[in-house]
């Protein structure tokens, strides 16, 4: 009789692990292998290997893992949830462990063993662990092993948004483009993974004692291990990295199998898996091309839009250089006087745009006929400033302008341009030969072009090959049109359900297109895009993407053959139009061109921006990372009037009338509604006889301070910051914190109702329930309605009963109302003064419309300063709302703060020198309603609509492009 073995099969998102144990629970066989999404094939291949060593033996068997669920169901093999499998393995191998952290390809898990067993897993939006590290490595053009090696030589760690992979990416990209050291970035990526795991999973429960680290990434990546150990403050004895870490879960799975009854031979198991029928739940669409003839016609049609070429070695005369330093790619074009191409280049920038471009320039200089004169040069893109100062390029232009120039060259009557690049989607609608509106993708759905590339690589293909596969797919899968993280799991599910690589490739192309049309452009019908549509950007070189776009729109579009070079081509055209004497770095200067990059901290203000300083030869340097001009090293005083600054200072400096012998100290958090009602509460409490303290100004550090008490990851950043303010007030010694709950805000008239949003209204409830330092005694959060004086007095008397000050309340309330009114008047007066000054100085005026708390510098990231640095004055939505009536709306106008947006927008339509920019915090569901409405109000009167989405991301790159495009559009108009 054969021995009794147990087999555990762990099918993760990227790997397959198999473990065999004997009757004594010893591992007698284990294997770890990447499956490149060929799940069934990899599993059966591994099983066949096993069957060679164990022919005829009987096994009890079990499957686990995120990609194993479907397989187990259809093959009728028992399944165990992977966290539970890990739990069983730990109990067996490391019974004295206190906590377990496991990172897998796509999931992060945590198990607490002592003090109450708890098994946790990341939510659906906190993707980015193993797969995230792979993606970041790809972004840097290296393997994850190399990334690991680099991280060990880091000197500093940059703050990188740790919530989700896409966010982190938007933080890393600008660092790369600004020339930050790759060693430091590598370490920062690992630190981000640690922060995400700790904050997202521990949720306030401390990770102590003996901690076990499991999963592939933690086993293979030393830098990541170090980051965890350091962050958790563990010593060698308490940080355990077991040898069998990569197959630990498979081991647990085998243990689980051992406890079950049925046994099979390996060949029987193999057979079961091979015969497993994929469920038919996948949704598929039409093929991209019905026939090869249709494909040929398509190729022929697009061939028409090509440029002439000239030989760089033989051509004589003037030439113009255009450079597009994009987020992931570098594009460069040299054209002749009559628009023929002498030289072109398109490549990944490998995170080092400056080196790439200098190298290309050297090539141009060496190849070019000595009788060519470069008469002008221009640069655009994320790396514009860096390249311009490093290589003395003549002009820097906004991307939108560059693309419009290039598109008009091919189609003078162009109505609509859509550009899908590595990380951005940019769309512009053209009216009367000027850019009428601009749409950019939000930080959240960033993964466009680079996403498909990363995906191709993960599946073991190069991008060209991968997209070619999709062209003749029979049943393209429907993968949804959400962000990268969701797409990843959609793909996973499709694979599980038996979709082929061809179908997935075609499906991904269609997802990118749907994302662009429905999420970025928000088009309701193809007609909205106009007749003449030019598509460009590297992603459209992919025929499958182009075809998906034409199919989705139901019409043909123009794709220039230099689709990927359009930004650079537009720059070259611009350089030609504006040529004088070129200052471009010469061949000789280029010989000794080099630079040194170092980091520093700006101490110009409390923001303490992380600066990155690049020194070129000859004392020239380029500074980035600064949010205002103070850190730029070329300090000149910015005198442009700014109501954000004014409002902010009035609120944070609120400290009137502190009583001599205070009853107690009341803490008021500088958060959410307090950014507007502070005058009321501060006055009220000091009038009654309390000392008031405000929490300190917001910062990233303040956010970290309260991070462990945040129960919901996806709430808006302004709300999440509140947690830090509460901790700060407690640390500062407040006897009690006052934070009222208010369903209703103040009724300003002209609206259907005057609610607060649910988060602003009830956040105190959440704070109390999740911060153990708070109690009913030190955290007073009564319900009241500021519209009703009687109610306010009654509620206050009730909640402050223990201080015995009932008699003082009515008078204090009246003074407080007066203070609030004075503050409002003050703001509107100041706005009027700013408008007058701006008009005297012939400045444009921007109504930067958001919510009261958007004046917080940690929330707005200094966008108002960016606007004033472009020479425009800034006022706020609440300072002009009273100047207009509510326009007729297509929505229920029921929130006080949002109602102001409509009136402010209406007012802007009557002011020729004003434009409105709407600030939207990521996760604000209400702005899904207001955004479209504000846009409709503005556009109905020919105004531009600009929306800036903000979160904890510090990267103002995208905002800068939008603002500069807005300025360019205003100048054209």
């Amino acid at each position: 009789m054969s021995k009794k073995y147990s087999l555990g099969i762990d099918v993760g998102s990227t790997t397959v692990k198999t473990v065999i144990i004997d009757g004594e629970n010893n591992i007698i066989y284990s294997e770890y292998q990447r499956h490149f999404s060929k799940v069934k094939e990899t599993v059966t291949a591994q099983l066949e290997l096993i069957s060679e060593s164990f022919p005829g033996d009987e096994f009890s068997v079990c499957i686990t893992g995120s990609a194993g669920l479907g397989l187990a169901n259809s093959a009728e093999i028992p399944f165990v949830q992977e966290v539970h499998a890990a739990f069983l393995a730990v109990k067996e191998k490391q019974p004295d462990a206190d906590a377990v952290i496991e990172l897998g390809g796509e999931d992060a898990k945590m198990i607490f063993l002592t003090g109450g067993v708890e098994q946790r897993m990341n939510g659906s939006c906190a993707g980015g662990t193993g797969a995230f590290i792979d993606q970041m490595a790809t972004l840097l053009g290296m393997t994850s092993d190399k990334l690991d090696e680099l991280s060990l030589h880091a000197e500093k760690v940059y703050p990188i948004a740790s919530r989700c992979g896409v966010f982190a990416k938007s933080d890393i990209q600008p660092l790369l483009n600004q020339g930050a050291r790759r060693e430091d970035i590598a370490a920062s990526i690992f630190q981000a993974v640690v922060d995400q795991t700790v904050s997202g999973l521990a949720q306030g429960r401390s990770i102590e004692g003996k901690v076990l680290f499991l999963g592939g990434p933690l086993f293979f990546l030393k830098g990541l291990r170090n980051a965890f150990v350091k962050t958790l403050g563990l010593d060698e004895e308490h940080a355990v990295f077991p040898e069998e870490a990569p197959v630990f879960v498979a081991y647990g799975c085998a243990l689980y199998a051992a406890s079950s009854g049925d046994t099979f031979t390996i060949s029987r198991i193999c057979e079961k898996i091979r015969n497993a029928h994929a469920s038919d739940s996948i949704v598929t669409g039409e093929p991209l091309f019905a026939s090869h003839a249709e494909y040929d016609e398509f190729i022929e049609r697009h061939k028409k839009f090509d440029l002439g070429y000239a030989d760089i070695h033989t051509y004589k005369g003037d030439a113009y250089l255009g450079i597009d330093a994009g987020s992931t790619t570098t594009k460069l074009v040299l054209i002749t006087d009559d628009g023929r191409i002498l030289y072109h280049h398109y490549s990944s920038n490998m995170g080092q745009p400056l080196d790439r471009i200098a190298e290309q320039l050297r090539r141009i200089y060496s190849e070019m006929n000595p009788d060519i004169t470069i008469r002008g040069s221009a640069v655009t893109g994320y790396g514009e400033d860096l390249i311009r100062s490093g290589l003395s390029v003549d002009h820097g232009i906004v991307e939108t302008v560059a693309h419009f120039k290039a598109a008009s060259y091919f189609c003078p009557e162009v109505d609509f341009i859509i550009d899908i690049g590595g990380q951005d989607i940019k769309c512009f609608r053209i009216k009367n030969h000027t850019i009428d509106s601009i749409m950019l993708n939000e930080a959240c759905s960033s993964g466009c072009g680079s996403f498909i590339q990363t995906f191709a690589m993960a599946m073991g293909y190069d991008i060209a090959e991968f997209s070619q596969l999709g062209l003749f797919a029979k049943h393209p899968v429907d993968l949804g049109s959400r962000c990268t993280v969701f797409m990843n799991s959609s793909v996973k599910q499709a694979q599980k359900d038996g979709a082929t690589v061809e179908d997935i490739s075609a499906g991904l192309s269609s997802s990118i297109i749907k994302n662009a049309i429905y999420k970025v452009i928000r088009a309701k019908s193809p007609d909205e895009l106009g007749k003449n549509i030019v598509v460009q950007g590297g992603t459209f070189l992919n025929d499958a993407v182009l075809r998906s776009f034409e199919k989705e729109l139901g019409r043909n579009v123009i794709r220039p053959a230099i689709s990927g070079l359009m930004g650079a081509f537009g720059c070259a055209l611009y350089a030609k139009e504006h040529c004088t004497e070129s200052s471009l770095i010469s061949a000789e200067e280029l010989e000794d061109f080099s630079y040194v990059s170092r980091s520093a901290q700006c101490h110009g203000c409390t923001a303490n921006c992380q600066l990155n300083i690049i020194s070129f030869g000859g004392g020239k340097r380029f500074i980035s990372g600064n949010r205002c001009e103070k850190g730029s090293g070329t300090a000149k005083k910015n005198n442009v009037p700014d109501l954000y600054e004014y409002k902010y200072n009035s609120i944070i400096n609120m400290n009137n009338g502190q009583p001599k012998n205070p009853i107690a100290t009341v803490g008021l958090p500088l958060a959410l509604s307090f950014y507007e009602q502070m005058p009321f509460w501060q006055t009220l409490f000091t009038q009654i006889g309390f000392r008031t303290i405000l929490s300190d100004e917001s910062s990233r550090g303040m956010y970290y301070l309260g991070q462990h008490t945040i129960p919901s990851d996806t709430v808006c950043y302004p709300a999440k910051l509140t947690h830090g303010h509460i901790e700060n007030l407690l640390d500062k010694g407040a006897d009690l914190i006052f934070y009222p709950c208010m369903s209703y805000n103040i009724d300003e008239g002209g609206s259907d109702n005057h609610f607060n949003c649910p988060v602003v209204a009830y956040y105190p409830e959440l704070l109390l329930a999740n911060n153990t330092r708070l109690s009913e005694k030190n955290f007073i959060h009564p319900y009241m309605d500021l519209n009703n004086r009687k109610n306010v007095i009654r509620v206050l008397a009730n909640s402050l009963k223990r201080f015995n000050i009932k008699g003082r309340i009515p008078a204090a309330v009246d003074t407080a109302y007066a203070a609030l009114e004075k503050y409002h008047r003050d703001v509107t007066d100041k706005a009027a003064a700013i408008v007058a000054q701006a008009r005297a100085e012939h400045r444009n005026i921007i109504v930067l419309a958001g919510r009261p708390y958007h004046i917080d510098k940690e929330i707005n990231h200094g966008i108002h300063k960016l606007i004033t640095s472009l020479g425009m004055a800034v006022i706020t939505e609440d300072s002009v709302a009273h100047l207009a009536q509510t326009p007729k709306l297509g929505v229920l106008n029921q929130w006080t703060y949002h109602s102001r947006l409509y009136r402010a927008a209406e007012y802007v339509t009557t002011q020729p020198d004003m434009q409105l920019i709407q600030l939207v915090s990521f996760g604000c569901g209400i702005d899904a309603v207001t955004g479209d409405e504000v846009r409709a109000i503005l556009e109905s009167c020919g105004k531009l609509y600009t929306q800036l989405k903000i979160d904890e991301i510090n990267n103002l790159g995208a905002a800068r492009i939008r603002l500069r495009s807005l300025v360019a559009a205003m100048q054209q108009a």
Binding site: S66, L69, G70, F79, V83, H84, F87, T114, G116, V117, E118, Q119, M121, G123, S124, C125, G204, G480, S481, R482, C483, F486, S489, K492, Q493, K514, Y518, K519, K524, P711, S712, T714, C741, Y744, N753, F755, C757, P758, V759, A761, Y762, E765, L766, A769, N770, Y783, M784, N788, K790, N791, G890, V891, L892, Q894, G925, D927, A928, V929, G931, A936
Partner: protein, 417 residues
């Protein structure tokens, strides 16, 4: 903004009103009640991927999932060619709170306006919104609706219990269909037999308790959450069916709790904000009536003894007070923590909180209160599941499976320190 078409009285004769698929059991009865008032309604059951696609096309991506699905379902139905757009109207519910949900009707109108400008959109609400463009209801209709909610809740409870343990597969479903039909007929007929609640309750209870069941022990899983996602199989990827297939018994709190929660809101607010009005007084009376009806149902169920009665609403309110003020009234507000606590106390220790991705009130009332409820009930597992057009079933089911694995682990979740 153009003016939208209104639903006129004449249209009652010519138009079919489409109703979104939220609570299949209850809505069928509602439809037969409204038929007595001359409204011709049809419950939509289309749930292909096209529903989500139409939703994505017509609704802002950041709007919440229920809006996207309801509107997608309508658009998909109109596109199907099964309904003559000149003779079709759409019905959507409005709760009138500070949540985004009150705006769905506007989002729906925007979507319809483009392609079917002739199709009127009606509101079903109890807050006086959309006057002149909502379903008109007299007292008799309201009374019928109250009964339909109670009967629907009872059927849902009995059905979920029976089908988890039934010996002959499909028998509970047959029983359910029989009763839905019978009740629909009862509401449609002129006699007032539907008022004899006690008799009907007992008939239902006796009938369902005659379904042969096993006596095995199953994990009971409570479902709380945003009202549409909680109930609609379209939205929650057939969550109840999934739980049954995993060998669990789904425990779904009744719709009457939500109705009473809405009624309480009005006079609670009046008290909190010194704002007593005529309508808040009426709501107080209405609540008293509803509460009496609920107590009657509870008593009948207790006396019958086979099925577990719903939680007494005053008890729910007192549980809520431990965690959150009853002033939290946007979305499902304080009702969610109250239901979670009640489930935990009644031995349903595994709770799924189903919510649309990024749901604003749920940050506070569901995710925000979980920790406090777990502290008081260390044995309880609460898992928040997000629903969204991009969220995959695999992801959702894997998390539910983790919770079930937890539930099966002896000693798990028992906090010692």
């Amino acid at each position: 903004m153009s003016d939208y078409v209104k639903f006129t009285d004449e249209m009652k004769k010519t138009h079919t009103i489409l109703v979104p698929d939220m609570l299949p059991i209850h809505f069928k009865m509602f439809i037969s009640i409204f038929a007595c008032d001359g409204y011709r309604m049809k419950l939509l059951r289309n749930d292909s991927r096209a529903v989500v696609d139409e939703g994505l096309k017509n609704v802002h991506n950041d709007a919440c999932y229920p809006a996207l699905l309801v509107i997608g379902q309508f658009m998909d139905a109109l596109n199907s060619g099964k309904y003559d757009p000149d003779k079709t109207a759409l019905l959507i519910t409005q709760t009138g709170g500070g949540c985004r949900a009150s705006n769905y009707i506007f989002l729906l109108r925007k979507a319809v306006e483009k392609n079917y400008p002739q199709v009127p959109v009606l509101s079903l609400n109890f807050s006086g919104l959309e006057k002149g463009n909502s379903i008109k209801m007299g007292l008799p209709t309201l009374l019928k609706l109250v009964h339909a909610v109670l009967y629907g809740d009872l059927l849902m409870t009995c059905y979920n219990r029976c089908r988890a343990y039934e010996i002959n597969k499909g028998e509970s479903k047959k029983m359910l269909d029989k009763w839905v039909n019978r009740l629909c007929n009862l509401f449609r007929s002129d006699n007032k037999k539907y008022m004899k609640a006690k008799v009907v309750y007992n008939d239902i209870l006796n009938d369902f308790s005659s379904v042969p069941v096993t006596d095995e022990e199953k994990i009971r899983v409570g479902i709380v959450g945003e009202i549409y996602v909680k109930y609609s199989p379209l939205a929650n990827n057939h969550l109840e069916d999934f739980l049954i297939s995993e060998g669990c018994e789904p425990v779904v709190p009744s719709l009457m709790e939500f109705v009473m929660y809405c009624a309480v809101t009005s006079f609670n607010n009046a008290k909190l904000y010194n704002n007593v009005t005529m309508s808040s007084r009426i709501y107080r009376i209405a609540y008293r009536l509803l509460y009496t009806k609920q107590k009657q149902l509870i008593k009948v169920m207790k006396d019958h003894g086979v099925f577990e009665p719903p939680h007494d609403f005053e008890y729910l309110r007192s549980l809520a007070d431990k965690y959150i003020n009853q002033g939290v009234v946007m979305g499902e507000g304080w009702l969610i923590p109250a239901e979670m606590a009640a489930l935990a106390k009644s031995g349903v220790e595994n709770i799924i909180s189903a919510q649309p991705f990024g749901c604003l009130p749920n940050h506070i009332v569901a995710k925000g209160m979980s920790r406090a409820i777990k502290n008081d009930n260390p044995d309880v597992n609460i898992v928040a599941i997000d629903y969204d057009p991009g969220a995959t079933r695999v992801n959702q089911e894997n998390r539910i499976k983790l919770m079930l694995a937890n539930a099966k682990t002896p000693g798990s979740n028992k906090r010692s320190g």
